[in-house]
């Protein structure tokens, strides 16, 4: 597919990498020649230097023949104008715009048709939604929902006193007496798709498939005590903080935001009347103590500096805050983070890429294409959702008799809204929704690609 990506920032680069590897023809537009040069050195794409919102640049990028325009520059106005212009030149063009400013939010949604937007991506908003989901389900590091909410992949870290520490995977379901399947394990920053003899160790992050009903049983049997989150402290008054406070407010959670900049405090205070806004330096441990950090159920570090977020989260863990969430802009730092107690890690970049990748795959939605794609473990593992059609192979065959490729695992089958964790004796039928987990090195676009031969 011919795709134009405008903006070679964090999201633009990540998308370039992902989409180029999937075989799409990428044209990247950016104002900075050096940025383009650097990306061109790594990926097989073409680049154009210029303003993505200008007609000349878009025409040079051959927008007439492109199928998708992803506007991910750091300016909302440019993104909207780029989509508007692109759509005017090529009415068949699909457009995705990143729009971050809350002031444009309602505008972008209501004026969708005028701007020709097919999808509006708001990394901050997406991050806020994700964080609020985690806060409502304390105990898990991450939750991905499939099959309209009936199946989930959750992840958690194994602690020294966990009942499953030093347990071999084949004994795992007995140990916790719940029907679950371990689909991936992250150890020392690398994701592995383990076999039955794999032995779990302290500090491993494991990704587990379970049906939604079993989630609370899983938490209980794992010995993870869950207390409902009531008081949340947010460090940093960024856009995510704003969206998150809104989300949490609606679920009746008390929110305090610490922000250093008096002007931002003023703005937040006027936009969020129900929220406690505290002016002060969240990086000062004295200050956090004075605000009574240990009394909160959760701390969310959302400042613009990754390092600062890590330090604050470490401190919160040390002060026994039950739930800690850390925002990182550069998720590639994650490798060293596994050994640190920083709780759940949220990467807005990864989240918006996920959303866009899902859209791209859906665009190719021909027979057998994926319903959705979820990236887990910094994108090292993909969980892909397929609806089984008549043309798919091995329908009504028990899974143990199906030759799947290496590093491909069928993890759950949802039949008529009822999810079942895949075992050797499971079968899938036409119309079922099947979730497949695979490592992201060999992208799978068609369900039949998972089979050997």
């Amino acid at each position: 597919m011919k795709i134009i990506i405008a903006g070679g920032g964090k999201v633009g680069t990540e998308l370039t990498k992902k989409l180029s590897r999937e075989g799409h023809e990428i044209t990247l537009i950016d104002l900075d020649a050096e940025v383009l040069e650097n990306i061109m050195e790594h990926y097989d794409i073409i680049s154009i230097q210029g303003n993505a919102a200008s007609l000349d640049t878009l025409e040079e990028a051959n927008v007439q023949e492109a199928e998708l325009l992803i506007a991910a520059t750091d300016r909302d106005e440019e993104n909207m104008l780029a989509c508007l212009t692109g759509h005017a030149v090529n009415p068949n063009l699909h457009t995705i715009a990143r729009i971050r400013d809350p002031e444009y939010k309602s505008q972008a949604i209501r004026l969708r048709d005028i701007f020709g937007l097919n999808l509006v991506i708001n990394p901050e908003k997406d991050a806020a939604v994700e964080i609020s989901r985690l806060l409502r389900f304390p105990g898990f590091l991450n939750i991905e929902t499939f099959a309209k909410g009936s199946a989930e992949i959750v992840s958690f870290k194994i602690t020294a006193d966990s009942p499953i520490n030093n347990v071999e995977l084949k004994d795992f379901p007995q140990k916790i007496q719940t029907q679950v399947l371990v689909c991936a394990v992250k150890r020392d920053g690398k994701c592995i798709m383990p076999d039955g003899l794999f032995k779990l160790k302290e500090n491993d992050v494991i990704y587990v498939t379970a049906s939604s009903e079993n989630l609370s049983a899983l938490l209980k049997n794992l010995g993870i005590i869950t207390k409902k989150t009531k008081y949340v402290l947010i460090a940093g008054g960024s856009r995510i903080s704003y969206y998150l406070a809104l989300e949490l407010e609606q679920s009746g959670i008390q929110v305090s935001i610490i922000e250093q900049d008096p002007e931002k405090c003023e703005a937040l205070a006027s936009d969020l009347p129900e929220v406690t806004i505290i002016e002060g330096d969240a990086s000062s441990q004295d200050f956090l103590d004075r605000e009574g950090i240990e009394k909160y159920d959760a701390l969310v570090s959302l400042t613009g500096l990754d390092e600062l977020n890590i330090v604050m989260s470490l401190y919160a863990k040390a002060r026994n805050v039950p739930m800690v969430i850390t925002k990182l802009s550069h998720a590639e730092n994650n490798r060293i983070l596994d050994s640190l107690q920083v709780g759940s890690v949220i990467s807005p970049k990864e989240l918006s890429c996920n959303g866009i990748l899902r859209y791209v795959r859906a665009m190719q939605n021909k027979e057998g294409a994926a319903l959705s794609v979820h990236l887990i473990g910094e994108g090292q593992i993909e969980a892909i959702e397929f609806e089984i059609s008549e043309n798919d192979r091995y329908i009504d065959t028990t899974l143990k008799d199906i030759p799947t490729k290496k590093n491909v695992l069928i993890v759950s089958i949802t039949s008529r809204g009822k999810s079942e964790i895949a075992t050797g004796n499971s079968k899938y039928h036409t119309g079922d929704i099947v979730v497949v987990v695979t490592n992201a090195d060999n992208p799978i676009r068609d369900f039949n690609e998972i089979f050997e031969g």
Binding site: E25, E41, H42, D44, I46
Partner: protein
């Protein structure tokens, strides 16, 4: 420097060279030239052995391929291709000296067309075919061919860009479409189609298949090896005119053809370099036609010779229809200047490239302007786009290297004691991949009288000229070979 990865790239390259020797071998079989067949078989065995060795060495190459690997790969690939490519001449004893055989092959691959052969007609057809075919392969670039047919993959998939840049001529080489492989295929398809049209027209004009193939390859690659000692002088005016037109066509940037192909004719015709190219052609032909009018019987004849010689020199082909060494000083002077200018960037032609000349003139004009209005800020534009100051700085570096190589090689070959005109034109003709020069290396003469040392200098010049200097210069830099 990741040498194993570099060697890995050479493996399919040798495969390509081996396969392309087969048609030449077939000509030798048709003619029952047993010694030529044996020479080709010996060469193929050598290539196969070297290829297997390379494959063994580089099986577990690690990823990691950046700009400098791209430059070194290109420089070394061309040297290896030339050394192996010259073996048929050497093994068959039709060119008994190894240096001569190498000179002839480098001259072929670099599309120079300078020859050391005293009598071309004595050569067997298999070898002549191979000699001309090296032009065709070298014209668009053998690594580009590799990019078109072999999917070179790796963690760093963008690395192929460095190869394209190092092998394709011009100050700012880019892709035509996002995928490198697609870009390379487009370039080769355009090249192939234009070549086939040329060959068909030559056959319509009465050439035999063999002559048409060799002449077509020479024209397409802007090489200049002919199958006759008098080049194209004895062919009909029709054939000469067809060749003139195609020499001009192959001197145009191929992205113009691509734009025409995808129906963006307006954009193609807006290209500033193309305007300059056509302008120079027109003025030069006009002046030379008037200047040489007294030497020929009709205006048609002088126009035909003027156009042909302008085409051959400007596209850096190096065919001849007449001995232009006998022309008056003005005409010879113009030809000498055209030699320096060369063809368009992104064409199969060599030389300094019109795009660079245009940029240099623009930057010179800015310098003059800045002297008069010191506080004014001016940007240089090309085709409406602002030219990055870095490109201009690179251009100055390129000019310095270009002049430097020219001066040093001129001094080195002067040791042999030939006239200044001979030496200067020999250096210019090899560095710009033209072929014949003036005086003792003129259109009717050849390079056989130079010493082995001078031939090596000229071999370097041809390679440096074809690869735009830096891939060759970098091979002589100490940091390329030392671990750091």
């Amino acid at each position: 420097m990741n040498f194993t990865k570099i060697i890995q790239v050479f493996v399919p390259l040798l495969g390509i060279e081996l396969i392309f020797m087969i048609p030449a071998m077939i000509w030798a079989m048709i003619d029952h030239d047993v010694h030529v067949q044996i020479a080709f078989i010996k060469t193929m065995i050598v290539i196969a052995v070297v290829g297997i060795l390379f494959w063994l060495v580089s099986r577990d190459a690690e990823d990691g391929f950046y700009a400098r690997e791209g430059l070194v790969t290109t420089g070394m690939a061309w040297i290896i291709m030339s050394i192996l490519g010259c073996l048929p001449f050497y093994f068959s004893h039709e060119i008994p000296s190894f240096i001569d055989a190498l000179f002839e092959t480098v001259s072929g691959f670099t599309t120079t067309g300078s020859s050391i052969l005293v009598n071309v007609e004595e050569m067997s057809r298999g070898l002549l075919y191979w000699r001309s075919f090296t032009h065709w392969l070298g014209g668009m670039g053998v690594l580009v061919f590799l990019l078109a047919i072999v999917p070179l993959s790796g963690k760093n998939e963008g690395f192929t860009l460095h190869i394209l840049r190092a092998e394709s001529p011009g100050p700012s080489v880019g892709k035509l479409v996002p995928r490198m492989r697609q870009t390379a295929i487009i370039l080769y398809v355009l090249y192939f189609v234009l070549t086939v049209i040329d060959i068909i027209l030559l056959m319509v004009g009465g050439m035999s298949l063999f002559e048409a193939l060799c002449t077509g390859f020479g024209t397409a690659g802007t090489g200049g090896f002919g199958v006759k000692s008098d080049s194209l002088a004895s062919y009909s005016p029709f054939i000469q005119n067809v060749t003139t037109v195609f020499m001009f066509l192959f001197g145009v940037n191929f992205s113009c053809y691509y734009l025409i192909f995808i129906n963006r004719i307006k954009d193609a015709l807006k290209d500033e370099e193309l305007h300059a190219y056509l302008g120079i052609i027109f003025v030069s032909i006009l002046v030379i036609t008037l200047n040489i009018r007294p030497l020929y019987q009709t205006t048609e004849e002088s126009l035909r010779h003027a156009a042909f010689q302008v085409g051959t020199v400007m596209s850096t082909t190096g065919y001849a229809t007449t001995d232009f060494d006998l022309w008056p000083g003005l005409s010879k002077g113009i030809l000498m200047i055209l030699m320096l200018g060369g063809a368009c960037a992104g064409s199969t032609g060599g030389g300094f490239k019109i795009a660079r000349v245009v940029l240099l003139l623009k930057s010179l004009r800015r310098n003059i302007h800045e002297n008069l209005h010191p506080s004014e800020i001016k940007k240089i534009r090309m085709n409406g786009h602002i030219v990055d100051e870095k490109v201009l700085a690179n251009l100055n570096g390129y000019l310095a290297a270009y002049v430097g190589i020219m001066v040093i090689s001129f001094l080195l070959i002067s040791i042999d004691g030939f006239s200044i005109e001979t030496n200067v034109s020999a250096v210019i003709a090899t560095l710009n991949n033209i072929g014949p020069g003036f005086a003792e290396v003129g259109a009717t003469c050849n390079y056989s009288m130079y010493s082995a040392f001078s031939k090596c200098v000229l071999i370097f010049n041809m390679l440096a000229g074809r690869l735009e200097l830096f891939p060759m210069i970098i091979l002589f830099a100490r940091t390329t070979w030392t671990r750091k």
